[in-house]
């Protein structure tokens, strides 16, 4: 009936405060940041937390986009809009701007956050595919300290993450690699919609122009994040070419496991997994080669 169940609400004053609250309240507590996933789920009673801990006051601790020579660190509270507008981020990781341009609308982008997107762990969530393609690391904090885990360990299934009770995701870290770039392509039914399918690619070139390392993250084509290891294997050491992209596209299609639903049939989504993988690779390589595409 589109009204959340009764609940209690508290505004956290620090990350430590938020973690202390969660420790005390246990699995009946949920963190709210932008609220664009949690609140609709509460209205539909798919989520029925007894306590809401609002972390929107923690932007000083969690709102950063920091770029160093060795890595990019993005706080969990960085909004979609900030990820879209950061020229510094676009210069080193253009995949973020690619993805953010096709995520929802300004109203959502102004409030929705990176941390919220990843913790929702929706198989159709664009930024999960982006972080997967980039081989990002997730920083999870609890009262005894923090741990850093790989993106593919962070997602444990649809709507399930490695974040335990009493813990929160605080930061995403992406290593910077020389001669590298990235790109994202999505098919959506209308502007800003959830992906029918999408693919993100990150490529690092060797000095001789061959592919030193490459990763592809697929979105909405299976119950889980679909980082396709055979794609990385197939890309490594190869000279970039249309034939290579086509071959890798076939691997993406073979590893996609989509369901037929109102967004499209499994056959169409499988085709899109191939096509969008090809496009993302093509653009990521071109960018890594210094082309302005």
């Amino acid at each position: 009936m589109q009204v959340p169940a009764p609940l209690e609400y508290e505004r956290a004053t620090s990350v430590d405060h938020a973690i202390a609250l969660m420790e005390r309240l246990g699995d009946e507590a949920r963190i709210v940041a932008g609220g664009h996933s949690l609140i609709p789920m509460m209205k539909l009673r798919l989520a029925n937390p007894e306590y809401i801990i609002d972390i929107n006051d923690l932007r000083e601790e969690l709102g950063h986009i920091t770029i160093t020579d060795s890595e990019v660190r993005i706080g969990a509270l960085a909004t979609h809009q900030e990820l879209l507008e950061s020229k510094e981020l676009a210069a080193v990781l253009p995949i973020f701007a690619d993805a953010e341009k096709v995520i929802a609308d300004p109203v959502v982008r102004n409030r929705g956050t990176l941390g919220g997107s990843l913790c929702q762990a929706d198989p159709s969530e664009d930024l999960s595919a982006v972080c997967d393609a980039l081989g990002a690391q997730c920083v999870i904090r609890n009262s005894s300290g923090e741990r850093v885990i790989e993106m593919h360990d962070f997602h444990q299934g649809p709507y399930e993450t490695a974040v335990a009770d009493g813990e929160m995701l605080t930061e995403v870290r992406i290593p910077r690699r020389p001669n590298s770039s990235s790109a994202y392509h999505k098919v959506e039914r209308r502007a800003g919609d959830w992906a029918v399918a999408s693919a993100g690619a990150a490529i690092q070139l060797a000095d001789d122009g061959t592919i030193l390392d490459g990763r592809v993250g697929l979105c909405a084509v299976g119950p889980n994040l679909t980082n396709v290891q055979p794609i990385s294997d197939a890309l490594r050491g190869q000279v970039p070419s249309e034939e290579l992209y086509a071959r890798v596209g076939e691997i993406a299609a073979a590893n996609a496991n989509p369901a037929t639903d109102t967004r499209g049939t499994a056959a169409y989504k499988t085709h899109l997994a191939k096509e969008l993988t090809i496009r993302s690779l093509r653009k990521a390589v071109a960018r890594a080669q210094g082309q302005n595409v």
């Binding site: 009936m1 589109q2 609308d105 098919v187 029918v196 639903d261 096509e275």
Partner: protein
């Protein structure tokens, strides 16, 4: 981005009286209203598409503290309602026929308690086989949606046959002979999914009894229809039911008809309290008996060697859904759109309105027309291609023109179809530098005007301030707002001098409501009539005051002056003050509606009155699209529109209607379609999975009006406009896509996946 090309020549002067209230939030909608002691209503739905009711037990629901009433079929008069085919009751009896059927209505002291009561109702049933496929529904061995239909009090010419609710044929000339004469014959099938009106405001109803009279605030496009529905089902005289519509948050036809007013009035009577219902978005999708019908269209057309059409045969199935609502005329109307605005001597089209166990169909903006036009016009491009003729030339050659005879034998007076084609082509050519995988497609459409009874009062009070009291309903088109302009022009005053009292059945005379693009056509006539009565009074007062002849008095710029001597004048306010001390300035208008034309030579079985078209409106839309060949994604880049809706009285509102119609048409073309599961239930009944267009998807839209003052139409020769822009957009997009794909996409909506599938087909 939008270009108002005619703006310079017709400077805007129109400011909507309801605009500031709507955009500042001070306007009140039904959901905003509260009354002392008010209870909250919820419905219990069947949740199953087809079943025989074994038991509906409300005992536990009634026992919940805070529940004031739980009503089922036995608590209201046993009345079957709906025009032409009365097949519906307020609450399910014996059998449920779609998932949104109402079993029971609850009133409680909070929405949460009402919901708890709904959940506590025990519903036991035996499932019946689901009728879902239109062609299977027409087979002899199909289960029946209404087994007892023979007992319904059907009116008019409706040869009922099993699941076929109505059958209509258009027939003229000799199709067999025509086909024998044909040089080229093209045969096509088109299948359109159902879709939704999807107004922003989910509907609400608030009812309160005082003695034996009930006042109902409701989000209706047709207050008098809603009142009549309450009167019929609760067996009340019309003067004891008052319907008031506060601001309406869109309708698009979905809020036509009579919906839930009687359920809430019955709850209010049972509880002796005001009761309010507000729908959720999901209910808005699943429950109302107004959604756009799915259709199957078979078309066969024969051409002479010179490219003229010699014969057309058609077969149509239109989905009725579980109940007929206002859809009885849809089969015939669909046939008109599938036949098209063409000169064809030999025509035979059989059209069927078919029951299924899906949500009932009903009047959504230009019912049957976008789908019928899409089929007809996609077929038209196939015809042109079959003989190697340019599609524009083909339409110019075969399309009707002033003095031509159309598909049903109607001879058309001065009409602008040909000019519409020229104007759309000219506009799209400005954007014609085609990039890779871009193409232009175009389509023509038509739509009738609906003359009918309508009334209004106008008065000038002693300070010279004007009041229009009208039965017309404003559903967002601006048509009611335009009435100020008509009254003002008649009296030589400013539109801002008038306020409008509207949407209240107790104070205003009858009007059909915001339906059939009829407000300006009919209520415009009524307001002009009423204002003219006041003008006569003013001229008499002015003549007395200035010692001049009545015939010489001119009303202009807020004054009455003597013709030829503008300086000899008196202000209308001063005349109003004089009148205020004696015979008051009150006008009432209705006027005789224009006649419907004759259609000699047409043989129609199952006539539902929509073959002879009064003041027909014509349109041509030309679109430019870009296709992504590897994904099937289509982007609409430009839409150039040309419309003959007669004289345009209010340009800003008219442009708005065209642009809105185009955006709705793009949604129908590309993304909007209802998915059903095997269980007969909607799979995308909500905005998350039912994809409306947004402004980010909107193309550039340009519009030109072919202004032909039309006889037997509305004030100054105006025709309707609200529905016409929704007719040809999907068809034009179809033809652009077909150029790029090499064949039409024969399913609507033409989703990216369907386009991609068409791209994979082998060329025969």
């Amino acid at each position: 981005m939008t270009t108002l090309e005619d703006q310079a020549s017709a400077p805007p002067r129109f400011v909507r009286a309801d605009g500031p209230a709507k955009v500042t939030g001070s306007g009140r909608y039904v959901a905003d209203l509260s009354l002392t002691g008010m209870l909250f209503a919820k419905f219990r739905y069947s949740g199953v598409a087809h079943a025989r009711i074994r038991k509906i037990d409300v005992t536990a629901a009634k026992a919940i503290p805070g529940v004031f009433a739980v009503l089922t079929a036995g608590d209201v008069p046993d009345v079957r309602y709906s025009p032409v085919i009365p097949d519906r009751t307020l609450f399910a009896k014996d059998v449920v026929r779609f998932e949104g059927e109402i079993l029971a209505a609850v009133a409680a002291n909070s929405p949460a308690v009402a919901q708890a009561a709904v959940d506590a109702i025990v519903f036991e049933y035996d499932e019946l086989p689901i009728v879902a496929d239109l062609e299977a529904a027409m087979a002899d061995d199909s289960p029946l949606v209404h087994e007892d239909w023979a007992s319904y009090a059907v009116t008019g010419d409706t040869p009922r046959d099993r699941n076929v609710a109505t059958f209509s044929s258009l027939s003229k000339g000799d199709v067999d002979a025509g086909m024998a004469e044909a040089h080229t014959i093209v045969k096509s099938r088109y299948v359109a999914d159902g879709s939704h009106a999807a107004p922003i405001e989910p509907r609400g109803v608030l009812a309160q009894w005082e003695g034996d009279k009930v006042t109902i605030w409701t989000s209706s496009q047709v207050p008098f229809d809603a009142r009549n529905g309450v009167c019929e089902t609760l067996q009340l005289p019309s003067n004891r039911v008052r319907i008031i519509v506060p601001h309406l948050g869109g309708g698009f036809g979905g809020k036509c008809g009579f919906h839930f007013e009687a359920h809430i009035a019955a709850l209010a009577r049972a509880t002796k309290r005001p009761v309010k219902l507000v729908f959720s978005r999901e209910e808005e999708f699943l429950v109302p008996d107004r959604r756009r019908e799915s259709m199957i269209i078979d078309l066969t057309t024969g051409l002479r060697a010179d490219g003229s059409i010699v014969a057309r045969r058609g077969w149509i199935a239109v989905e009725n859904g579980a109940y007929t609502a206002d859809a009885a005329f849809f089969a015939q109307l669909a046939a008109m759109h599938v036949a098209g605005p063409y000169k064809i001597d030999n025509v035979h089209i059989d059209s069927h309105l078919v029951y299924t166990n899906h949500q009932p169909s009903g009047s959504v903006r230009a019912p049957t027309a976008p789908q019928g036009c899409w089929a007809c016009e996609s077929h038209t491009d196939e015809l042109a291609a079959a003989i190697g003729m340019d599609p524009v030339e083909f339409r110019k050659k075969n399309g009707i023109h002033t003095g031509a005879t159309g598909v049903v034998g109607q001879v058309y007076d001065e009409i602008g179809l040909q000019q519409c084609i020229d104007a759309a082509v000219e506009q799209i050519d400005h954007a014609a530098a085609l990039g890779e995988d871009e193409a232009i497609g175009l389509a023509v459409g038509w739509w009738p005007s609906f003359p009918g009874p309508s009334g209004a009062y106008v008065r000038l009070d002693s300070d010279g301030a004007g009041q229009i009291v009208t039965g017309a309903q404003e559903c967002g088109t601006g048509a009611v707002m335009t009435l100020r302009q008509l009254a003002a022009d008649q009296l030589g005053m400013d539109p801002e001098d008038f306020e409008i009292i509207y949407q209240d059945t107790a104070v205003a005379p009858y009007d059909t409501g915001a339906t059939g693009s009829q407000t300006l056509l009919n209520n415009g006539r009524a307001v002009v009539d009423a204002a003219e009565q006041i003008a006569e009074q003013l001229r008499q007062h002015a003549a007395d005051h200035m010692e001049a002849a009545v015939a010489d008095i001119v009303l202009a710029d807020g004054h009455a002056h003597v013709a030829g001597s503008p300086s000899k004048n008196v202000s209308i306010a001063e005349l109003a003050e004089i009148a205020g001390g004696g015979e008051l300035l009150i006008g009432k208008g209705s006027g005789k509606p224009p006649d419907y034309p004759e259609i000699p030579g047409m043989n129609c079985v199952g006539d539902q009155g929509v073959a002879a078209w009064a003041a027909p409106q014509f349109s041509c839309h030309a679109v430019k699209v870009r296709l992504d060949r590897d994904t099937g994604v289509v982007r609409v880049l430009d839409v150039a529109c040309a419309h003959d809706s007669g004289t345009i009285i209010n340009p800003i509102a008219a442009y708005g209607q065209v642009e809105g119609g185009v955006l709705m048409g793009i949604g129908q073309a590309l993304t909007e379609g209802t998915h059903y599961g095997e269980d007969g239930k909607q799979r995308n009944g909500g905005l998350l999975e039912y994809k409306l267009q947004t402004f980010a998807d909107a193309p550039r839209i340009t519009t030109k009006f072919i202004q032909i003052p039309t006889a037997d139409a509305g004030p100054r020769g105006a025709k309707g406009l609200a529905e016409a822009p929704n007719v040809p957009t999907a068809a034009a997009i179809s033809n652009a896509i077909a150029k790029l794909v090499g064949r039409p996409v024969r399913q609507l909506p033409m989703t990216a996946e369907r386009v991609w599938n068409a791209l994979q087909e082998e060329t025969p």
